[in-house]
């Protein structure tokens, strides 16, 4: 733990600590939302529609008079749940396919990596947009769409690492001792992938949070009245002139969450691969 918190030459790993602090704050807000949120995220107050910040509503009220702070706190639940679940599925799928491709090589590798290329030919969230367009908006579909997009990065990473691990003595020895491929992959290869995969997964959570918010912003993600940051931004856009706080707060929430997670990823990378920092990455 001490080694992870300390950066290069024993200095404190600032990005890691700052990132972990911001990310934990949002995770805690999401978990304890019902206890810390001042109101219910669905309670309307039509007389207070678009009201600015006040004593009762610290960040103001939206079009239907719902408390913005409450909806941002509950919005963290949607964003982070989608982020973690999507990345969990992507890591699982990508690692399995990637290690299989790297370990078995030949035709298996060819089929898996060409499939990967096809998915990678869809830039950004385009594939997720296309999938959401046909599946229709729902929480589960957002996870499916974003996972379809996310597995490729992990598959490529796992394949590359497996290719080099396959040549290492301890794997060669395991093969010589007659270990089954499943055992070699499970006991010798995957444990050695943990460090690079953790770093990649951290950045992927940030990407999934952005992806979810983007889909909701386009009206393809969480549906009203679910409090989602992307949907709140889209609604706020209509009232930019009269109630800018509708846009500013959810926007800041997304930026801060993503910044925190990216910092955490940067810090983890420095901690797990000190050479990356020396190379100036």
């Amino acid at each position: 733990m001490k080694r992870i918190l300390a950066g290069k030459a024993g200095r404190v790993n600032v990005p890691l600590i700052a990132g972990a602090a911001v990310t934990s704050a949002f995770v805690l807000a999401a978990v304890f939302a019902p206890w810390i949120a001042p109101c219910s995220p669905f309670d309307q107050d039509l007389f207070g529609g678009l009201a600015g910040p006040g004593a009762d509503h610290l960040l103001g009220q939206d079009r239907l008079g719902r408390d913005i702070l409450t909806r941002i706190i509950y919005g963290a639940r949607i964003s982070l749940t989608v982020g973690f679940v999507t990345v969990g599925i992507s890591v699982l799928l990508g690692t399995l396919l990637g290690t299989a491709a790297g370990f078995f090589g030949g035709r298996v590798d060819e089929v898996i990596m060409r499939t990967c290329d096809v998915f990678l030919a869809f830039p950004g969230i385009l594939l997720a947009i296309a999938v959401m367009a046909v599946l229709g908006p729902s929480f589960l579909n957002v996870v499916v769409a974003l996972s379809l997009m996310g597995w490729t990065g992990f598959a490529r990473l796992a394949r590359g690492q497996t290719l080099s691990l396959r040549e290492r003595e301890f794997v060669v020895a395991a093969v010589a001792m007659g270990a089954t491929p499943a055992r070699i992959i499970g006991r010798h290869i995957i444990p050695n992938l943990a460090a690079p995969l953790t770093v990649e997964a951290t950045f992927a959570v940030a990407a999934a949070v952005v992806g979810e918010a983007g889909l909701s912003f386009l009206g393809l993600g969480a549906q009203p009245p679910t409090p989602s940051w992307g949907a709140m931004l889209a609604e706020g856009r209509q009232f930019l002139l009269i109630a800018p706080s509708l846009t500013i707060w959810p926007g800041l929430a997304i930026m801060l969450t993503v910044l925190g997670i990216n910092f955490l990823g940067d810090g983890l990378r420095d901690a797990m691969d000190p050479k990356s920092k020396l190379r100036g990455e």
């Binding site: 060409r114 499939t115 290329d117 096809v118 998915f119 030919a121 869809f122 830039p123 950004g124 969230i125 385009l126 947009i129 296309a130 999938v131 367009a133 046909v134 599946l135 229709g136 940030a206 952005v210 918010a213 983007g214 912003f217 386009l218 009206g219 393809l220 992307g230 931004l233 889209a234 706020g236 856009r237 930019l240 002139l241 800018p244 846009t247 500013i248 926007g251 800041l252 997304i254 930026m255 993503v258 910044l259 990216n262 910092f263 940067d266 190379r279 100036g280 990455e281």
Partner: protein, 306 residues
């Protein structure tokens, strides 16, 4: 070189075919009847039947697949259900708007990123470096749908310097280009910094220093010139990503391009048009990537074509 180009192009064919197939199956393997979804719950059976015939959904799936591929190859992807205009001509009509936005964003990103990255590398581990890298992390962490509305709020609503939406001359390009180019500028500045730091450690840079060249001369003439190649390559590869990023940016700024057309087609459940738009963006991305690869191979003598 020619053999390399041919091999690269042939290698792209299976991927392009995979993209076309995936786009076809996204629509056809989904639960429910696309015609029913397009027309809504209340549509009569006769209307659904008619749309089936119109879209060829009544034929076996293999026949539909073959005619879809034929359509892609001959640039005939049917007509929009709502406007009745040809899908391909609708896309061609808006493509220049998206291209100009993407190119402008890229130019802006390069102009900002290279000096920022060079400054950070030259003053590595100082406050300038940390400040520049924090700014770039902030840029990466700001999605277009956050940056766009905030820029509109500040520069269109409060200051009134630029129009908030629409496409009317160069001035209307400014805010969408900043929104779309911000993340790219952030990525490029980090890349400029890391490649420059690496280049500054090379023997020929040390040699130049030993000959008494000034710090500025070393940085610009010897190091930056060599460090720029990967930066320009990534910039090129990102151009494809910008085409996709335009989907959200164009929606924010009501920019009449391919991205907005895609979202409109999806919201209207106009599947033939949506299919065409998604396919065009993906294939453009693929083409840009190949082109960048080829240009890179042509200008960098260290790359072997074998």
């Amino acid at each position: 070189m020619r053999a390399y180009i041919i091999r690269r192009l042939i290698g792209a064919v299976p991927v392009a075919w995979g993209v076309v197939t995936l786009v076809f199956f996204i629509i056809h393997l989904t639960p429910g009847d696309p015609a029913q979804i397009m027309l809504g719950e209340s549509a009569s059976a006769a209307d659904v039947e008619e749309l089936h015939r119109q879209l060829g959904l009544d034929k076996p799936i293999l026949t539909q697949y073959i005619s879809f591929i034929g359509g892609v190859l001959t640039f005939d992807m049917g007509a929009s259900i709502y406007t009745g205009k040809g899908v391909v001509s609708s896309i061609f009509a808006v493509y220049p708007a998206t291209l100009s936005l993407a190119l402008c964003s890229m130019a802006l990103a390069i102009v900002v990123a290279i000096p920022l990255g060079a400054m950070a590398a030259a003053r590595k581990d100082t406050a300038v470096d940390r400040g520049a890298m924090f700014a770039s992390l902030l840029g990466v962490s700001t999605p277009t749908f956050c940056a766009g509305p905030l820029l509109i709020l500040i520069f269109a609503v409060e200051l009134g310097w630029f129009p908030a939406s629409g496409r009317s001359g160069l001035v209307s390009l400014v805010l969408p280009s900043i929104t779309l180019g911000m993340a790219m500028a952030a990525i490029l500045s980090r890349l400029t910094r890391s490649t420059l730091i690496e280049t500054l450690g090379e023997d020929y840079v040390t040699a130049a220093r030993a000959r008494g060249a000034s710090g500025r001369m070393v940085l610009f003439k010897h190091a930056l010139a060599n460090a720029l190649l990967p930066v320009v390559t990534v910039a090129g590869l990102q151009l494809g990503a910008l085409l996709a990023g335009a989907v959200i940016t164009e929606t924010i700024f009501a920019w009449p391009g391919l991205g907005r057309l895609t979202v409109e087609a999806i919201n209207a459940r106009d599947y033939p048009l949506a299919q065409g738009c998604v396919l065009t963006i993906a294939l453009s991305y693929l083409m840009v990537n190949i082109l960048v690869d080829l240009i890179y191979a042509a200008i960098d003598p260290r790359i072997k074509y074998q």
